[in-house]
Every structure is written in structure tokens, then in C-alpha cells.
Symmetry: C2
Subunit: 659 residues, 2 copies
């Protein structure tokens, strides 16, 4: 099933959307070329990447030392993956030529036995597979595999696919349960989901089995990563010195503290977690593993129900870029790494494939429209790694506890996982709009993004064009261009943000519908020219957080459709914390062309604490000495746009003037 | 002047107070004996101190390795200092015998040339004075000097005074501006204020000059600490490895980034800062240095006006136990180290000596009644090092960002500076109640603590007995027991917490008074038997924070007299964040004998957010779906008592139900 779904996906959905086309164009026209410059160390004032140079040295084309992080190879891989997707929708011979050359470089760096990793080739030759815990060897392999699959599927070129297949075969010979094989797995999950993709592209079952091996071994006793540390006498890649051997419990950081089937709370490094959950969902579907599916459901429920920011961000603490514990969602010391939200989207997509329930798509949309696109500047050249919900620029400079929270998007990072991850997601967005079940003759529309879509169902071809005015206006239209002769279903998501109020018209006539798992399921014999109009109510609303989330107590956020809003200093003055919002305020939308790209801002009624009456040297005084806060007009802008004008304070959660 | 003030202080004020006697007794009967056991490594389940053992090894009485921190000697010193004060008020031959033995042990560990430090004697012989930046050599010297002065002044015994004088003479030979001398200073200030005390006790001017040398050299170019790191090739005491040579700017941690006279913002490690400011104020007074006084005023204004918690805590961040920046006072990631508040009290005391203004005493009282005594459990055996204003026990366990914030007081610490510091302060509390200016024939009453006091003024002896019902009831009474034959002044502080409303009666008759710098100055010819009744209004009030303090926006704290109050989970349920307080609530006091030691609790009207209506797996929902928060009765208890019953959440700042 998965294999069939993967092959040719790119040909079936093509995005044509007033909002998203600009992002895709930005990635193609700016991000991909800019990142290529970055990979080649040609960006002034940015930390060098060393990624291309490392491959040249490993290929014997240049002399020098390895540069950058131990996982630097993955940056080139993610770039190639993005290029693969981009070429699938927008042929570009010059870009393809550059990518082909880069692929030749990768091939040249591959070793005789199929091994491929510039760090261990250049710098620690002979130490292959001795530090899975820290050295990201299989992680880098996974990213190169993902790149190869994307590039093969869009261009039909097998060069990189053959390279990574040889590498995967080598990995398959090194890892396993036979005598002389390593019964282990990577410290940073990624290879697992990549091997599933490689299985999809090649049909080679052993890649699927290898993915399952890695997932099944993870967290089993005796703990491989702990024992591996012991074999190295605890010598750490990062410090170069002996460290205490970690306990099994500490392996929670790597989600290897117990078998994955026994895990029910999202713990540890957030990106590792969601990459693993993605592979678990893949395997649950492809192997029919009900126990694994149940684990996925439990982990999903915990993560999205108790550990997710309203922006779709995950990871509450900088320390280990990690989950902390249920309901702990501080807004200012937050992590909410861009890559983690991208991994959350991967996981959601897999769950939608397994069981189309709108809650998965609600979260997918939330992460996409807020945390993910908010991480990138409108020029495509600056990125947030950490995506805060509250920013005080002075704290980012002056408080060590919040130094990781940048108030301004940065150029390419030393550890630059996020920018190419954003690029590859935005270039493959067409994969996230729909899923289909050919067997059940149903197409699910999860996202409201303008697109041409074509699916081969059991009863025949279903094709339609979606047009959408989101996120600024509600209303989506599906016009059929081809339909089977018998009844098939179009299932439209009832997004959580419409409060259950969505209007349906079929060929101009208002129509009732039945809702199954959050989808309006429209089953009939469709004909080319049939028009479905779907209008979920798009109205700005104040949102409250569960009172268990201490950080948001007495506060409200603003949402309108899929967008979370925020207050910025440039519109509202500072301190933002001195403002409160009236719980019964109207939220008046205005389309403001002056906002970057044009956007709907919201006016709201609130109050502002008296600042003028305070002596700056007086920290405290009786409450009775303060006048009632004066009425104030607040202006909220979409969260994803924050930080694109003057730097300043920002907050998503706003104090309520009455609670 | 200073010398005169210091000599015999102990004989002039004797505390007899319903509230404070219990603390002094706790220190004498429990803390001092318990700490002695700790210093001797005889507390089960607590980390060993090694302090006594180190002295034995250094004295050649035992074989072994140095144990504990590089500054472990200071723990014994602080204990001896506390014992000194305790013996001054409560003779105890057995305790004195133990202390004398400990002093003999210290003397035995002193080297031929006067040098005294067990770490460098045992472990790094030959490396004396090569790592002032990190190794606390002069810091430990300072504490032993303070101990010697206290012990000498209470017992008249010179043994330890002679030891530290020899050590100070040795230091004086090592440091200075002559050829072959070190033109440097300690990484952790403390020696400066100690040398001033040694000058006071011995009259030897060279100790004062040496203190001035250390203060004057600090932060001068070229930077001594930076150059010293260079001479060690950056090898660090803490890591044992080469570290990058720090910049002058990084010396802000040690307040050595620029000359002290140019410093105007409190920066760096908070304890180091206030110990230094204390010595600066001492020197400003003793040397008539107006520039230094002006620096003290600026630093005081910044620290107490913009960087102090309402509990009198200072130090906003765990990283470096340090100040962060103006108005940055997070309640949950707070540091507010006990020792820092004690240092703040030292500084305030010196400023009161220089210029009696009630703001100094207001802060002194705030730190004493809240941060300092709150750090100790009611059994005297458990301590907070960090004194948070908001606690969520799960976060202390589950969030690395708040792991330093303990929800329960701990036994003796590995770095155990705080417990003996509390002990020495509480045993010398008599030094903080009054200051007098003999020249001006005035006695200032800064604190309202029952006590017998006697001062030699220019016109003669002034003696009276203060009785006080604080902190539970207002009202203080001063009965004269001896008075000069000419007019002298009793100046009574008008505490900030009375809102300028304080009733005065003299011999039963209500009386007007003039206020100078926050003191009601009563000048007349007093006679034995004269009674002054002084009743500052003691009424619970809601307190607001300056809106620049983001962390407290929309919240209020509760104060009653000198006490800050808090909400605890044991009284109010959890989450505490789900509660709000009505801005116009009455705050009804009740004396509750069931609280540890008996205390006044306060009832207030507030609201509690609906918890029952939330699905635990639902993080967010439209605000409109939540009912109005229900009315709730809140119960606040004194902050200093928190954590003495069941562990749970606690908060000082409470959301207002209307802002």
C-alpha cells in the first residue's frame, strides 16, 4: 500500500495557491540558491557550513580538515532532497546540473564497501560504527537516502539512489542479529523512516526489515547505547574526554530508555522523538503491527494533548532541545525547534494515512501555518531555530536562561538543520494536502490549499481542482475534472477552528452532510464540472489554555482560521506585558497590504497599565496607588509574520483584563 | 569612628524578642550543634563537608586527601563566627571549649610564614596565589578574619585574632604595588570587608589600607584576573583543563570589568557584588571617600530599585548565581540566593551607618524577614540555597531550567555557604537593630525588635528597652532606663509598609513628630522611665510591581508589615496559577497557632478557574467555552514559612481577577 502511495505522488498533486505558491517560489528562487551558497561557504558574515568541502576532501579532490558538526553531511542531503522536490514541480536544467554535480561528488566520496560519511572518512577513519550514541552516522545516512528517493522520484535519475542503496546494503551487513553484527541503532533516529522510503522506491523488502530491526531493537535490554559507551570507556565525541557511562534512564534523551512499544509519554530530544514516531507509524501500517499503532496513538495523544504549544511547537526546554513534562509549556524559555515541528508534521501525515481523523490534520495545519513558516523570514534568508511565544529582546541578550531565544532571525547556523528542513518541507507540501484510499474509493482533503489533484481509485480516476482563499478568507472550492462512473467519496476536513460550523454547497445548492472522524464525507457519482463549495467558518476567536498549563493561566491567545496571532511591540508599544485584552472584545479583521506579503491584522479592545506614574527606581508599591489601566486598542498580527519589521517584544498569550 | 562603633557593640544591644529569640535559640541549640556535626561529617544522608578533616590533614594530625570545595575552609570560619556571636550573648562553656579546640586546630594548620588555607597546603602546595580568579584564597582568609574578630569581641580571647593577624600580615607582604608584590585581588570579594573589621578590632591602619588597595585595584587596567589566567595558560581549577582566556568584559561576573568607582549597575555574581559594596561603604565612611560613597549610592539604587525581588532576594539567574539586567525578575527560574540577601543586609547596614535613610532599613528588613529566614526550615536543619517566588514541584524535578529551584529545603549542601551564613547573621542580629551617632547625640531605631540597648553619646549614656509585637501585631514601645541630662534624639524609622501612618505617644500622650529621611526624630531631655509608644500601621495590603517587571504584570503580592505572603498548595489546592485575587478584596488576618511557630494567616477573596470542565488531553479551546471562574476563598501565609508543611506549589505573585 505504502509503496503504491509513494510512487508518483508528486505527479498527482500540484499546488497552485495564492498563499503557498509564494513560499514555494521563495524556496526555489531564494532559499535553494542561498543554501547552495551556504553549503559552499560563500555567505559573508555567516558561519561556514563546510558541507561541500568535506565531501571534496573525502572524495580526494581537495586537501584539508573536516569542518563543522559531525552530522554536517545531512545539510547537503536535505538540500538535495529539497531540490528533488523542486525539480518535480518546476523543471530547472541549471539547478538539475548543479545537483547532478553534487550527486557525483557524493558518489565520489562513497567508499569501496558502500560506506558514506565524510566525518569518519576524513577524520576518524577506523572508528566507524563505534559511537552511534553521539556521532549521527545512521542519521546522515538516512538523510542521504531521503534525498536519493526524492531526486529519483522527480527526475527518474538513479545515480544517487544506487549510491544510497549500496550504502544501505552495507549498513544491512553491519547491523543485525547474526554473529559479528552490531545489534544496535543510531543515537539520532532518522534512518528508520528513510529506509521505509527506500523500500517504497526500490521495492526491496530488506530495507523495510532493517527499519523494523532498528525500531524493534531500540531500548531493548541490554541497552546497546549504554554498552557502546562502556566499550568506548565513556570517551565522548563532544568533549573528547571520558564521561560517566550514562544510565539506561538517561537514554530517554534518545528515546532508548525502554522498548518503543512500552513508551507512552513523549520524552527526550524532540526531533529524535518525532522522527522515530514517524517511522513507527510507517511500520505499523506496512507490517500491520497493531501494538505499534497503539503506541503511536498514545504518544500522539500525550505529545499533542499535553506537550504542544498552540503554535504547533514541541520541546519545552533548551536543555537537550527536549520535552520536559506534561503541561510544562513556558513561553519565554521555550525551545519549539523548527525541525521538531517539521517532524511532527511527518508523524501527523503518517497517522492520517493510517486512520484519517481530523485531529491529525488539525495539528499538522497548526504546526505548518505557525511554527514552521514563522521560522523563516519573508526574505527566505534568515531563520529561527527556536520559535518562542514570548520575546523580550533584552532578555535574549541579558539573561543566560533565555539566550537561546533569539529576537531576530539569524543567518545560516553552525548547526544548520532547520533551514534545509524548511526548504524540503515547503517543496514537498503537495504530499500533505490529501490522502486517498484507493480500496475505499475515497479522497481526503486535509488542507485547504489550492491544487490540482488526481488519484487512481478502485473505481477509476478522481481528479479535481481545489481553489482556496485561506488563510485570509474562508471558502474553498473543489471542481471535478474527471470522475469514475460509480460513486466515490470526497472527504472534506471540518477544521477544529471553525467550531463545527462549515457550509457545504454542491453545484450551488446548500447541502447537508454526514461527518465521520472530523470529515464531511460526500459520496456520490461525480462528473467533470461538478463544483463543491466548502466554507468552514473563519472567525477570529480568543483561545484559552488548559488551566494545568501554568504559563498561560489568565491569558488568551487569538486564532483566526489556522493562524495564531500575536502582539508585537512595533504595533503596540512595550512592555507587551503591560497590556491586557478584554475577554468580550470584538476582533476586527483588516487586510493590511503594508504587512510583509499582505496579511489580515486584528484590532481588539484591551487595557494598558499606567507606566508614566511609576518612578523607574521604584520596583513595588501598594496596588491602590495605581490608576485603573486605561483602555487601549490592541493590534494583533499573524504569528508567522512576527519579527519581520522592527525588532521588539512579542507575545502570543495575552493577559485577560478579567478572569 | 568605625573602630569605636565596632568595639563592644555586643555589650550594647541585647535582643529580647518574642519572635527573634526563638530564632537565636534555634541557632544556638540546633543550628550550631548541627553544623558542627556537619563540619565533622557526622550527618547521615547529607553530603560530607570535610571541613574539619581538611584542617586536621593540613595540621599533620591526619593523613588523607583534601575534600570538598576549594573554599571549604570558609564553612568552619562562618561557624566560628556564629559561635563568637552566640557566646557573646549566651555564655556556654562547653561550646566555648569546642570552639577553642577548633581554633587550636586552625592555628595548627597555619604555616610558618602565616599562610593559612587547607586546600593549598594539602593539595596544591607551591601554587599559592596563582589562581585568585577561581580559588577563593583571600575569600577564605576573609571569613577566618571575620570569625576571629567576632570571637575576640565576645570572649576577649586573642588566639584566633593573632592567627589571622599573622595571616593578614603575610597577605600584606604578598600583595601591593611594590616590586615583587602581586598587584591583584581575589576573584570572590570578602577579604576587603574582613580587613576593615580587623582594623576595627586591632586598630592597625595597614589592614584598612590593604582593604583599600584591593578595592582600588579591582577592575583597573591591565586587568589582573585576565592576566593571571594568561599566566596559567588558561588552565582552570574547575575543569583542570585549558580554557579560553576570559575577556575583561567577562570579568563583570567578578565585578572586575572596570574600576569600582565607575560601576553603576549591579552585575555578575550577586554575593560577590554585595560583599564588595559592603567594603566600599565601609571604606567610604572610614576614609571620607565621596566618590566611593557616590558609587555605593548608584549601585544601591540600581540593585534595590530594578533588580530586587519583593522578598529581598537578589540574583535573577542560576547561571553564575548572578544579576541579569534591569527589571528582569522571573519568579520561577529565580536564583535569590540566601547568601546574597545576607550580603545585601551587610551593605544596607553600612549605608545606614553612613547616612541614616529609611530606605536602607526598609530593604534590610525586607531581606531579613522574608528571603533570609525563609531559607531555613523551622527545625533549623534544612535550607534553601535558592529562594523562589513561585514553585511547581514537578518543574523542579522535570524541567532542567528549574532544577536548581528546590521545592523542599535540603540538608547541608556540597557548597554549603548558606547555612552558616544564616547562623552568623541571626547570632549577630543585635548589630542591625540600631545605629547611633555619638557626635550628633542621636540613636536610630531601624528595626522593631525587642531589645535592651545602651549607647554612649556625646552628652552621655542613652539606654532603653524596646518591646515589640512584630511581625504579628504592630506597636513598639521604648522605655528609657538611662538618659543624658541634656537633649538627645531617638529617631524611629517610619517603615515603608505603614504608608506613612505611624502613631506616636510619649508618656501616654499622642504626639506630633517631624520626619527626616524617613525617621521620626524625637529630640528632648529624656529621663529614665519615659515611655515612647510607636505604632506604624500594620495592615495587609496588595502590592503591585512596576510594569517594567514583566514577570509580575497583572499580578499582586500581599504584604503585612515587614512580611511578604504567599499562597501554598496545602491551603489553596493546585494549580496555584488557576487562582486569582480580587483587587478590592479584604485581607482578613487570623492568628493561627497551627502554623509552624504560630503565625498570622490572611483570608482573601478570589476566583478559581474551572478545572473539572477540561479534558486532560485538550490543551486549548475557545475562551467562550469556559465558565466564569468561580468565587474562591484564598488563604495566604507568610512567605518565610512556606514549605514547612506538605510540599506543593507556592506563589508570591497572584493574578488579579481584574486589571
Amino acid at each position: 500500500m505504502k509503496q503504491a502511495a509513494a510512487a508518483g505522488t508528486k505527479e498527482r498533486v500540484r499546488i497552485k495557491d495564492g498563499f503557498w505558491d509564494a513560499y514555494a517560489a521563495l524556496v526555489r528562487d531564494t532559499v535553494i540558491p542561498y543554501q547552495w551558497e551556504a553549503l559552499n561557504d560563500r555567505i559573508a558574515d555567516a558561519e561556514p557550513s563546510y558541507a561541500i568541502r568535506n565531501f571534496r576532501i573525502a572524495a580526494g579532490q581537495e586537501q584539508g580538515e573536516f569542518g563543522g558538526m559531525v552530522f554536517q553531511d545531512s545539510d547537503l542531503a536535505k538540500w538535495l532532497e529539497a531540490v528533488g522536490y523542486a525539480l518535480g514541480t518546476h523543471p530547472d536544467p541549471e539547478l538539475e546540473r548543479i545537483a547532478d554535480e553534487a550527486i557525483e561528488l557524493v558518489a565520489a566520496a562513497q567508499q569501496e564497501d558502500g560506506y558514506l560519511n565524510t566525518y569518519f572518512t576524513i577524520k576518524e577513519s577506523g572508528k566507524r560504527w563505534t559511537n552511534l550514541y553521539e556521532a549521527h552516522e545512521l542519521y546522515c545516512a538516512g538523510h542521504m537516502i531521503e534525498a536519493a528517493v526524492a531526486y529519483y522520484e522527480s527526475t527518474g535519475k538513479r545515480r544517487l539512489l544506487d549510491v544510497v542503496s549500496r550504502f544501505a546494503d552495507h549498513i544491512d551487513s553491519v547491523f543485525g542479529r547474526e554473529e559479528g553484527q552490531l545489534r544496535g541503532y543510531d543515537g539520532h533516529q532518522e534512518i528508520e523512516l528513510a529506509l521505509v522510503k527506500l523500500y517504497g522506491a526500490t521495492g526491496e523488502r530488506r530495507y523495510l526489515d532493517l527499519a523494523k530491526f532498528f525500531i524493534d531493537e531500540r531500548g531493548a535490554e541490554p541497552n546497546f547505547l549504554v554498552e557502546e559507551c562502556g566499550r568506548r570507556d565513556g570517551v565522548s565525541h563532544w568533549t573528547g574526554r571520558q564521561q560517566p557511562i550514562p544510565s539506561v534512564r538517561q537514554m530517554a534523551y534518545n528515546q532508548a530508555h525502554k522498548p518503543v512499544r512500552e513508551q507512552d509519554v513523549a520524552v527526550g530530544h524532540a526531533v529524535r522523538a518525532v522522527y522515530m514516531y514517524t517511522a513507527m507509524a510507517d511500520l505499523a501500517g506496512l507490517t500491520g503491527d497493531a501494538e505499534l499503532l497503539e503506541s503511536c496513538r498514545r504518544l500522539w495523544a500525550n505529545m499533542t494533548g499535553k506537550q504542544m504549544y498552540i503554535t504547533g511547537g514541541i520541546g519545552s526546554t533548551h536543555h537537550g532541545e527536549a520535552f520536559s513534562f506534561d503541561y510544562d509549556l513556558p513561553n519565554d524559555t521555550v525551545y519549539a525547534e523548527t525541525c521538531a515541528s517539521i517532524g511532527l508534521i511527518f508523524f501527523a501525515r503518517r497517522m492520517l494515512q493510517l486512520e484519517p481523523k481530523s485531529e491529525y490534520a488539525d495539528v499538522l495545519e497548526r504546526a505548518l501555518y505557525n511554527n514552521v513558516i514563522g521560522s523563516m523570514s519573508q526574505d527566505g534568508k534568515h531563520y529561527f531555530y527556536v520559535n518562542p511565544l514570548e520575546v523580550w529582546p533584552k532578555a535574549s541578550e541579558g539573561s543566560p536562561d533565555r539566550r537561546h531565544v533569539k529576537a531576530v532571525r539569524q543567518k545560516w547556523f553552525g548547526c544548520s538543520c532547520c533551514p534545509p528542513n524548511v526548504a524540503r518541507l515547503l517543496c514537498s507540501l503537495h504530499d500533505y494536502v490529501y490522502t486517498a484510499s484507493a480500496e475505499d474509493d475515497v479522497v481526503y482533503a486535509h488542507l485547504f490549499i489550492g491544487s490540482e489533484a488526481r488519484f487512481e481509485l478502485k473505481s477509476g480516476t478522481a481528479a479535481f481542482v481545489q481553489t482556496s482563499l485561506l488563510p485570509w478568507q474562508g471558502g474553498t472550492r473543489f471542481e471535478w475534472t474527471e470522475a469514475p462512473e460509480t460513486a466515490v467519496s470526497l472527504a472534506l476536513r471540518v477544521p477544529s477552528w471553525c467550531g463545527g460550523q462549515a457550509l457545504l454547497k454542491i453545484n450551488g445548492a446548500e447541502s447537508a452532510y454526514r461527518t465521520v472522524d472530523g470529515y464531511a464525507v460526500l459520496t456520490r457519482v461525480w462528473a467533470a464540472g461538478d463544483v463543491v463549495e466548502w466554507e468552514p467558518r473563519l472567525e477570529a476567536r480568543l483561545i484559552a489554555a488548559n488551566p494545568e498549563i501554568r504559563a498561560d493561566a489568565g491569558k488568551a491567545a487569538i486564532e483566526r482560521g489556522p493562524l495564531v496571532y500575536c502582539l508585537e511591540e512595533v504595533d503596540n508599544g512595550a512592555p507587551i506585558a503591560s497590556l491586557s485584552i478584554d475577554p468580550d472584545t470584538e476582533l476586527i479583521p483588516t487586510f493590511d497590504a503594508a504587512l510583509p506579503g499582505g496579511a489580515v491584522s486584528l484590532e481588539a479592545a484591551g487595557r494598558r497599565a499606567d507606566l508614566a506614574g511609576w518612578d523607574p527606581d521604584q520596583p513595588y508599591r501598594p496596588l491602590g496607588q495605581s490608576p485603573e489601566p486605561a483602555a487601549a486598542e490592541l493590534r494583533a498580527v499573524p504569528y508567522f509574520l512576527w519579527g519581520n519589521r522592527e525588532p521588539g517584544e512579542m507575545a502570543v498569550w495575552i493577559r485577560l483584563s478579567r478572569v
